[in-house]
């Protein structure tokens, strides 16, 4: 007998006559797969629990007690197991199971979208009966019924594998679809009039093994054999891996790619269905310049008129000739690929010589937080017995796949989540501790939590609650996920909190960004004082001076200062590279006045956003579906972005526009392809080392760059004083919704209608004190500013706090922000009905 405490790592099993060594306890169907033996299956999905619903994976297994038929998804391997997946009996059973599954299946393959990529079709061909013996009437249901805005359900085709219902319940915690009725009339359905309102509904279409679930955007659009596909990356902060599928130069759908490190094959609906935006009729397809009637370019003209590239670029270069570098500024860049970011930085900092370059739009964490903290990957976070502290907003709204990973970690991987978010979130019900500090107080709460020096009450949280949470920080590895949870709170309290957590041994961080490729932008130097490869202006000059002729002499202004300078008329040329400060910058009027008072405003964008509308020159850019390049996610993971379709009209990749402008100014950036950028950048950047282009090309997990410490984190010297909220006021939280008035959402037909109107959300207790009806319009004031907005009861919001989501139709909460405040207190006047 071996010592029972000794862990057996590997067992040997015989699969189809071959002895193989597999991990002890592995699920048999996986073990067979890794041994190269494919077992047919419908219900089994490796990212969800096993249920043994479909019986398709039955094989003959002998564990020493004689052979028997076992579903291989419900069985763990054990030493000496003998498996026969090819026996006569196995084949007979597979044939029988398929015959049963097909009893009620309508076999309407010729008109079914799934035909050609349908596991039921494929496996029936491979393992099933050639003919049916079933002559009776099949069961009938109304064909397809919408279960939400984007997904249709055809219950006749359904084989009841429980994949979609399991996904809804287990993976994302939205159990809004269920098995209804029983026996022969079992069906998947929602509650009447209660749609499957999940942010992740597109995934059930992807995992459905038959044609029962179809996405509105893809229905009857193409046949699988007409599709071409390419593996790419969705340029969101997490860099979710995707497969882009197109036909005739038109993208028809995005599918999640199962990358172990990042998204596990899942995508949020916002990302999955957003491809429609890039094919929208509102996409810019030629340059625009300010002009008047008869399409004539004219400075000070009333509108934007179509132009040629030559005409538009000449206005740009005229504004840049002999300009004082201090009077040129660049905002934005988070939309771009790493390569395009490098090209624009080279144009700004290497050719024009200005350091007024910032990818932040006033809603990101500072660069030293994003680059300076010891960083952890998502998979490092999700190890058993870890404690993850969330100093974030609702991840379900903003970082869909990270939400899914952390939810799984808490439910199935033995990770404890200590949530310190402004409101209850999608993770609250799986978190070990869920606390909601008052905005502005997170630094003080974190200090008490870390030190265990616990006051009676801090930031709206009792000492007892803190003490309970403190326990979870003992004897386990602590990881802190942090983002700019609300633009109603300054970054100071967040930096205080991070400073406190740094007192813990080996505490590591995952700072999140708001915009797609902000991490790449920082690594490519799109921030004042930075050069590519996490070099600073002073340390990096020597590295770049031979190829970047006009490096800036001094550190440039940050976003707010750039906008201030522009508003004061101190900027001659302002570049907006995929940036829309009027919609996104916290101070809307400053952004507007900056764009109006800057000499020439050049926008490089895909759509006419409010800021683009005010620009003087608009250069149409190619989207991520139309360019080659790479993306850097919040972990520092670089994954490829690959071109699948051609850009509309004359729009060009961003790097090409930068290169063209430089060329017209008499400088050659030496960039003819994205690879040129990569070769130049990697030859200079110690961080990116010697990563060749193909290095990460075929690895679904991409390549992780780690270079902590080159840009040091600047801890806070003194913690912000606690500021209690008085009993007449409420502390403001400005959150973000998955579906808002953002350009991409609004340009996607599938997503447009999902954005709600702006509402002030307060909890039942505070609501009752107001003595008004739900939905009443009230006046909300903060100092001398006010907005009027309807009130909604939302018990996720803690007492004495009020939540408004940013960028929705109606009241704009940015109007309430005060210059220089660390947190915003508002008053609600129920008597003033605007």
């Amino acid at each position: 007998m071996s010592n029972p405490s000794e862990e057996i790592d590997e067992v040997s099993v015989i699969i189809d006559g071959q002895e193989v060594h597999v991990k002890a306890g592995e699920i048999l169907i996986d073990a067979c797969e890794s041994a190269g033996v494919d077992i047919p299956r419908f219900c089994y999905h490796k990212r969800m629990s096993q249920v043994g619903m479909c019986r398709m994976c039955i094989v003959e297994v002998d564990t020493g007690r004689g052979s028997s038929l076992q579903p291989s998804c419900m069985m763990n391997v054990s030493e000496g197991m003998v498996v026969d997946t090819q026996s006569e009996l196995t084949k007979k059973v597979q044939d029988g199971v398929l015959e049963f599954l097909l009893l009620n299946h309508p076999l309407d393959c010729p008109v079914c979208d799934k035909g050609g990529e349908c596991p039921l079709q494929d496996q029936t061909m491979a393992y099933g009966p050639g003919e049916t013996r079933f002559v009776e009437e099949k069961r009938h249901f109304e064909k397809p019924i919408p279960i939400n805005e984007n997904v249709f359900l055809d219950r006749e085709r359904c084989i009841l594998c429980d994949r979609c219902t399991r996904f809804a319940d287990e993976v994302v915690g939205d159990p809004l679809i269920q098995f209804i009725d029983r026996g022969n009339s079992t069906q998947v359905n929602t509650f009447p009039e209660d749609p499957f309102a999940s942010y992740f509904s597109g995934n059930i279409v992807q995992i459905c093994p038959v044609g029962a679930l179809t996405a509105k955007s893809y229905r009857f659009k193409a046949r699988p054999w007409d599709l071409e596909e390419i593996e790419s990356t969705y340029p969101n902060p997490l860099g979710d891996r995707i497969v882009v599928q197109s036909s005739r130069d038109q993208v028809l759908r995005l599918q999640g790619l199962d990358s172990e490190a990042v998204n596990w094959g899942w995508l949020s609906d916002k990302d999955r269905f957003s491809f429609e935006a890039f094919q929208s009729e509102y996409r810019l397809d030629s340059p625009l310049v300010r002009g008047g009637g008869l399409n004539k370019a004219e400075k000070g003209g009333a509108g934007l008129v179509a132009s040629s590239w030559a005409g538009a670029l000449s206005i740009v270069t005229d504004s840049l000739k002999d300009v004082n570098p201090d009077r040129v500024a660049f905002l934005g860049g988070a939309r771009l690929t790493n390569e395009s970011q490098y090209a624009w930085t080279k144009l700004a900092k290497g050719v024009l010589g200005t350091d007024h370059v910032s990818a932040d739009l006033g809603d990101e964490l500072p660069a030293h937080v994003l680059l300076g903290l010891p960083r952890a990957t998502i998979s490092e976070l999700c190890q058993p017995n870890n404690t993850i502290v969330l100093l974030t907003s609702d991840l379900k709204e903003e970082y869909g796949t990270l939400f899914i990973r952390l939810r799984h970690a808490a439910k199935a991987q033995g990770v404890n989540i200590v949530e310190l978010s402004p409101t209850r979130t999608g993770l609250s019900n799986v978190a070990a501790v869920s606390l909601h500090p008052l905005p502005g107080e997170i630094g003080n709460v974190a200090e008490a939590l870390v030190t265990g020096d616990i006051p009676r009450e801090v930031g709206g949280i009792t000492g007892e609650e803190i003490a309970n949470a403190h326990e979870y920080l003992q004897n386990s590895n602590v990881f802190v996920v942090v983002n700019r949870s609300s633009i109603g709170q300054s970054t100071t309290p967040i930096i205080d909190a991070i400073t406190s957590f740094q007192k813990l041994d080996n505490c590591r961080f995952l700072p999140l960004v708001r915009r797609g490729n902000t991490m790449g932008a920082l690594d490519m130097g799109m921030s004042p004082g930075l050069l590519p490869g996490r070099n600073t202006l002073s340390s990096g000059s020597a590295v770049f001076s031979d190829i970047w002729p006009n490096l800036p002499a001094k550190e440039g202004a940050d976003t707010k200062q750039i906008l201030q300078n522009a508003a004061d008329g101190k900027i001659d040329t302002l570049f907006l590279i995929g940036a829309d400060p009027i919609s996104d910058f916290p101070d809307r009027s400053l952004a507007k006045s900056a764009i109006q008072n800057a000499g020439t405003v050049v926008s490089v964008d895909l759509f006419v956003t409010p800021s683009v509308y005010e620009s003087d020159v608009v250069l149409p850019a190619a989207s991520f579906l139309e360019v080659n390049g790479s993306h850097t996610n919040v972990e520092g993971r670089i994954t490829p972005i690959r071109q699948k379709v051609t850009a509309p009209g004359t729009s060009r990749p961003d790097w090409m526009i930068a290169s063209e402008i430089a060329y017209l100014l008499g400088h050659n950036l030496n960039i003819d392809t994205p690879e040129d950028v990569w070769n130049e950048m990697t030859s200079r950047s110690a961080v990116h080392g010697n990563l060749g282009y193909p290095h990460f090309d075929n690895d679904q997990n991409g390549h992780l760059i780690t270079a902590t410490g080159r840009i040091p984190f600047l801890p806070s010297q003194e913690r912000l004083e606690s500021r209690p909220v008085d009993s007449y006021a409420m502390r403001l939280i400005i959150g973000k919704r998955m579906f808002d008035h953002g350009t991409i959402t609004q340009m996607s037909a599938s997503l447009r209608s999902l954005a709600e109107a702006s509402q002030l959300r307060i909890n039942q207790y505070d609501f009752e004190r107001l003595g008004i009806d739900e939905g009443t319009k009230v006046q909300v004031t903060s100092g001398d500013r006010d907005i009027s907005v309807t009130v909604k009861i939302d018990d996720r919001v803690p007492r004495s706090c009020a939540l408004i989501y940013a960028n929705l139709d109606g009241a704009d909460p940015r109007e309430l922000l005060n210059e220089g405040s660390h947190s915003i207190d508002i008053r609600i006047d129920p008597t003033v009905r605007a």
Binding site: L176, N189, E193
Partner: protein, 202 residues
């Protein structure tokens, strides 16, 4: 509106408090809703979902699994006439036919006064008493056509008071003394079931 009324809401809260997890009260609450309205309405399911903290779809999934929860109206007296093998051999079809003609409705329909509905059911496990039937799940044994008519008359004249209206499980409500109830607190003290921990459902 057929959410739980005030009195039943009070009872519902009491029922919920007897379980360590709210969700466990789901089926008892469905019975309560059925007792109130004679059927389980969508509004009641939504109400129950709110009370036990699950989605309405989950309530529907459970409710629709059980034959005895009716989501469509039935008579005040739901008569289940057995046509299992023993009853069939001893004349169940005659009883069914008689029911249809004497009540003037077809199987699954409700009489105009809303009093009766009937259906043929599979074996109800009283083969020694065949042919048998149930009125609101109370057994009536060895029935023939005359006895069926008598039964209907008694029910119509409300002389057969031992059979409550459809939806009522029992004439007396179960009372669990505080010291016998599991309650939410005691689970913590006893050894915790593994599945609670695994599902992180608390």
């Amino acid at each position: 509106m057929s959410r739980l009324n005030e009195e039943n809401l009070r009872i519902a809260r009491q029922i919920i408090s007897a379980y360590p997890k709210k969700k466990s009260a789901l089926i008892p609450l469905l019975h309560l809703a059925q007792e109130q309205n004679g059927l389980v309405t969508n509004e009641a399911m939504t109400h129950i979902a709110e009370l036990v903290d699950v989605t309405p779809a989950e309530v529907l999934g459970t409710c629709s699994f059980y034959e005895m929860f009716k989501r469509h109206p039935v008579g005040e007296y739901q008569i289940n006439i057995c046509h299992g093998i023993s009853c069939h051999l001893l004349g169940a079809e005659d009883v069914l036919e008689h029911a249809e003609s004497s009540l003037g409705v077809k199987e699954g329909e409700i009489t105009q006064d809303g009093k009766f509905s009937f259906e043929g059911v599979e074996c109800i496990a009283a083969c020694t008493e065949a042919p048998c039937l149930q009125v609101n799940y109370r057994y009536i044994n060895k029935v023939n056509a005359d006895e069926f008519d008598q039964l209907i008359d008694d029910l119509r004249n409300e002389t057969k008071t031992e059979i409550p209206k459809h939806g009522t499980l029992a004439n007396t409500r179960q009372k669990i003394p505080a010291n016998k109830a599991a309650g939410p607190a005691q689970v913590e003290e006893s050894s915790r079931p593994i599945w609670l921990k695994r599902n992180k459902e608390e």
